[in-house]
């Protein structure tokens, strides 16, 4: 059964006037995409592609020139439904004279979290993002990673079902990136639908179910990350040890495999239709199998194709 559509964007157009008296510039050219319930959706694109503009339209911060954007069935220009969504902006700035607990209490009040529940909820969320120890510290003393985590905390303090994250790993060191990535995965595993804007492909590849790639205000690709190739066209990298060079050469010739090797380890890239035959043959001749890794379409390749114009709205 098809999952519910949580975010639906259709024909979204946005024009900006760069300055008074100047001609309008179109930054979104009628984009369409959908995000299903429970997905961790990556919205990626090069700088200036229209990612943040799209995010801001979804958040009601800017108004679309044409087209429609709906979240949970509501027009994004409405306000009341926002109690079901959370938003963590890029490089968030908060009132630095407040403590971590005070800022979350402020956002909880904005979301009408009942007074009786507020203090407890603030404690829960601070613990959830790993900032329980910093609850009473002023935000001006927080590191960038801590601010990013408090940004996620304020986005979920009212327990929304959809969370929007704008460049959540931007500007963080590898440890900070991993911490935020883990939080994002944890959020998703708790059943929240996540829409994430980013240009860090490695993070998207690690955590996202589906992506849309936006280039120059147009969706160049949207689809799943795993299984990007249809059955029959998939390939596997099979690494053997103790596979004789003669056998490797035979395999290379017979199965049109791509051979690479170092020391006594040999890796063959082989089409899926020949996999079982090759593995059985190798085992019969005394070789050992170290690993079998499916080869998908790498996100980087997909992204570069999208940017260079080879892809145009190929939804798979």
């Amino acid at each position: 059964m098809e999952r519910d559509t949580i975010i639906r964007v259709s024909g979204l157009v946005k024009d900006f006037r760069p300055g008074f008296g100047l001609r309008k510039k179109r930054v979104l050219h009628g984009i369409d995409f959908e995000v299903k319930r429970g997905e961790l959706f990556g919205f990626i694109g090069p700088n200036g592609a229209g990612k943040t503009t799209t995010m801001k339209i979804l958040m009601g911060l800017i108004r679309a020139t044409q087209g429609e954007a709906r979240i949970l069935g509501h027009d994004v220009r409405e306000t009341a439904f926002r109690e079901h969504i959370g938003f963590a902006p890029e490089s968030p700035y908060f009132y630095d004279f407040l403590t971590g607990a005070e800022i979350l209490d402020f956002y909880a009040r904005l979301c009408a979290v009942p007074r009786a529940r507020r203090a407890e909820r603030v404690r829960e969320v601070l613990a959830w993002v790993g900032l329980a120890h910093a609850a009473d510290m002023r935000l001006r003393t927080y590191s960038k990673g801590m601010l990013q985590r408090i940004g996620i905390a304020q986005a979920i303090v009212h327990d929304p079902s959809v969370v929007f994250l704008d460049e959540p790993m931007s500007g963080l060191d590898p440890v900070g990136r991993k911490e935020i990535r883990d939080l994002v995965v944890k959020l998703n595993s708790e059943g929240k639908t996540i829409f994430m804007n980013t240009h860090i492909l490695a993070d998207v590849e690690t955590v996202c179910d589906r992506v849309a790639i936006i280039v120059q205000g147009r969706i160049a690709y949207q689809g799943e990350l795993g299984g990007a190739l249809p059955a029959g066209e998939r390939a596997f990298d099979v690494t053997f040890s103790a596979l004789s060079p003669e056998l490797a050469e035979q395999a290379e010739a017979r199965f049109e495999a791509v051979l690479s090797g170092r020391g006594d380890r040999i890796t063959l890239r082989i089409a899926d239709k020949h996999l079982s035959e090759l593995v059985q043959g190798a085992l019969t001749h005394g070789a050992a199998i170290e690993e079998i890794v499916p080869v998908g379409v790498g996100l980087e390749a997909l992204f570069l194709d999208a940017v260079s114009g080879k892809l145009r709205g190929d939804a798979r």
Binding site: F16, G60, F94, F97, Y107, L110, C111
Partner: protein, 258 residues
Amino acid sequence: MRWLGAVLAIAGNTWRDAIRSKVLYALLFFALLLIATSATLATLSYVERERILQDVSLGAIRFFGAAIAIFVGVGLVHREVDRRTIFTILSKPVDRSAFIAGKYVGLVATLWALLAVMAGCFVAASLLAGAPLASGHAIALMLIAVELAVVVAFATLFSSFSTPFLAGCYSLGIYLVGHLTRDLYAIGKTSASPAAREFTLWVKRLLPDLEAFNRTIEAVHGLPIPPAEVGWSLAMGVAWIVGFLLVAVMTFERRDFR
């Protein structure tokens, strides 16, 4: 209820932010200094020392109160946009009208607290100098409070679409002309030019008459202040506040936060 809750949350935060402003404390310091030294200024005169003291003190309260209202008010909305704190607020179930109302209420509360401090200083200086205090002084101070609320309303309006510098210029202009509308209208009425008469009439109609909130002379000289006139000034003040804030909300509703 949700709208009101958001207004109060934003107002509380604005209060906390505003009371950290160094400009605010600098201006408050000079206001208190002028009130405190008005007793010394009064000794320079042989006659009506108490009245000079109270005149200078109430003038200082009005001037510095308006200065704080304009200085802090013009950056009220712009600072939130510039610091991008507005992104996290407006992405919550918060109407833009609640945001404007919350910012306004927070700053007015701050100004009224400062006004209470200045009024306390004024009362102390008057008592020390043996100057009489009557209900007229309370009415004068109350009308200053309403005038400050009007000044914050138009400063908020300009802050909702403009930079602090431009908003400051607009607000200062309205404040100065607002104190001259009666005089301009009176001059216009005596003018032979129909265009001048029409112009001054429209200035009077379109801009707030801030002199309606100035009862310093009556308070200082112990003259009666008719309750009907006080009521009219209050009603006019509320009408101007609502008018300015409605325009601010309409402007703010149309804004894109890029």
